[in-house]
Amino acid sequence: MSAMLNIQRKKLSPPLIAFLLAVALFLFSSFFIAGGTGLHGIADRGLNILRISAFLGIIAAGQTLVILSGGEGIDLSVGTTVTLAAMVAGWICNKQDQNIWIALLAGLAVGTIIGFINGIGIAILKIHPLIMTLSISGVTTGVMLAIYQGKVLGGSGPNMTRLISLPIFGGLSGAVIIWILFSILIWVLLTRTRYGKNLFAVGNNRNASRLSGVRVPQTVIIAYTLSGLIAALGGFALLGFTQTVYFTLGGAYLFPSIAAVVIGGTTLSGGEGSYWGTMSGALVLTVVDSILTSIQLSPPARQIILGVILLVVITVYGRQRSLRQ
């Protein structure tokens, strides 16, 4: 409660709070947990956090668009989309360099198709987003098993790995640079295009948007399609990082992708939020995860803490109005 009051008094926006929280947690963990390794050590650790956050940050962008679109919007298929796109890309690359572009296009196409089907089901057939995206994630898993059939699945090309993992510019890895460029694109999309304005309007009030001439179904379909496309991009980047594909590759990003959006202050009812909040949310989650890893907490305990963090954040930001009001 007191945190909420503070926001109102000092006009601290949730994205800024999340960003400051990430920085504070990072400094705390650098000084008290990793032990003083000097300025150089801290910078290294910071770059590493950025490098790991990039994947979650990219994947969570799609989740941001979908949640912004409102109507209890959520995309629970991002995890399996990430894995399937990585699988298809790795399969086409087959550890060689010559087909990287085809692999990228094929991966993105897979994600776009999945997202488009989600959009049609939700906006045209009026299936609840939760059920639609969960069912699609079941179908995607089915496709993965049908492709896999016990074979070895290829992997990323050497150039891809180089591009994603190695430092390119001022110690920043390719993944981070891709993330920065990507975030500019999303920022332009959300704040400088008509589609962005429509998306916020639709998320705020569907009826009012419809009456003022916004094509609501189209806007929603595009949000889900972009979410699939972005998840696939995340899958491709992740493939460059891990070099091989395994079944739980993307699933691990589903829960954090939602948590990052919520921590960044995007309201779950839609129509209010920002991508820069989600980016800060991704940083917070990555720092927390690195702290939990360095104090050697078991995976179940980490899972519990993640759940508690999300609950606390919703309690601070996500309370609905009382019926009395």
Binding site: I124, L125, K126, T141, A146, Q149, I258, L268, I304, Q320
Partner: protein, 332 residues
């Protein structure tokens, strides 16, 4: 001439299908049941039927739990984790030689744990007023994590003689599972007739109107979540009795199926309508689909895809029907 009658027939069909949401699950059930019966003529043998029902039982209870919350206008994405948690508790506290007395005691404690987990969700959703789906999604992580701490590796024990008795139980030659389903339906019709039952639908239909007419909205929603947790715990008992052991991750995939079963059974996600009988039909439809797919000679690598696609089509079909009707309205 034939043209006119065809048009009249089509018109009648449209009138008949309008606003009858239960028709689709019934039709699906008849189709899946007949195909299943064709592939497995022995499916109504007491032994085969009993075995099938035992494997359906955990999902039936989870779907019943989910029905309560969805009718109430809420959702519980933690039912699977609640079941995993209670099952983990049961199989680690009981041994192969536990007596009936110990079993009853642990069972009651397990149901208590389930209700506590449900009450946790209920508190967050009704009194703290958090959005239900994200709250229960978060709590499913917490409950699932605790289940993993309790039972790190799949295993555990149930009393051998009890599990054995459960596997062979039949009253009047009718498998135990049928009696359980009958009991669920009787209890449900009683609950529905109580004041709580009336409020359950009223809150789901319109929170605001319910509140304005003096229904204790928050209390009703809290109790509903707690009841759902208790029912998920009963699902855990049937699960553990059937397999004699458990796995802390077993409930994860079943949460989706519980929601799908409720939707297939004609209960609306928006709340305020539907019932438990439809959801049980929903579970049977899901199980028959799975049976049919596994009976065909499709490679096991392709089966999950076929399975998931059929479920997706089943979920999408009311939308197609609505589209069909809407076009007709527009034409008029």
């Amino acid at each position: 001439m034939t043209f006119v009658t065809m048009a009249a027939l089509k018109d009648n069909l449209k009138k008949f299908t309008q606003n009858k949401t239960f028709l689709l699950p019934l039709l699906l059930l008849v189709i899946t049941l007949s195909v299943n019966f064709f592939l497995q003529p022995k499916m109504f043998d007491t032994r085969v039927l009993g075995g099938n029902l035992r494997s359906y039982m955990p999902l039936i209870f989870l779907a019943v739990a989910q029905t309560f919350v969805i009718i109430n206008g809420s959702i519980d994405l933690a039912v699977g984790a609640e079941m995993s948690l209670v099952a983990a508790f049961l199989v680690t506290r009981l041994s192969e030689t536990s007596t009936l007395g110990e079993f009853v005691l642990i069972l009651l404690a397990g149901i208590g744990i389930g209700m506590l987990a449900g009450a946790f969700n209920g508190l967050a959703v009704s009194y703290i007023r958090l959005p239900a789906f994200i709250t229960s999604y978060a709590s499913s992580y917490i409950f699932g994590g605790i289940a993993l701490l309790v039972l790190p590796r799949p295993g555990g024990n149930m009393p051998l003689d009890l599990a054995d008795a459960y596997r062979h139980a039949a009253i009047l030659g009718i498998p135990f599972g049928i009696w359980v389903i009958a009991l669920i339906l009787i209890v449900w019709s009683v609950v529905r007739a109580t004041r709580y039952g009336t409020f359950l639908y009223a809150v789901g239909g319109s929170e605001k109107s319910a509140y304005a007419s003096g229904v204790p909205v928050s209390q009703n929603r809290f109790v509903t979540h707690m009841v759902a947790g208790g029912i998920a715990a009963i699902a855990a008992v049937f699960l553990a009795l059937n397999t004699g052991s458990s796995d802390a991750r077993i409930g994860d995939a079943m949460t989706l199926n519980s929601v799908v079963a409720v939707v297939l059974g004609g209960t609306l996600m928006s709340g305020g309508s539907g019932g438990v009988a439809g959801s049980i039909l929903g579970v049977l439809i899901l199980s028959f689909i799975r049976n049919i797919v596994s009976y065909t000679n499709i490679s096991t690598w392709i089966q999950p895809l076929v399975d998931a696609t059929i479920i997706l089509i089943a979920i999408a079909s009311p939308g197609f029907i609505r589209l069909f009707h809407r076009k007709e309205i527009k034409a008029k």
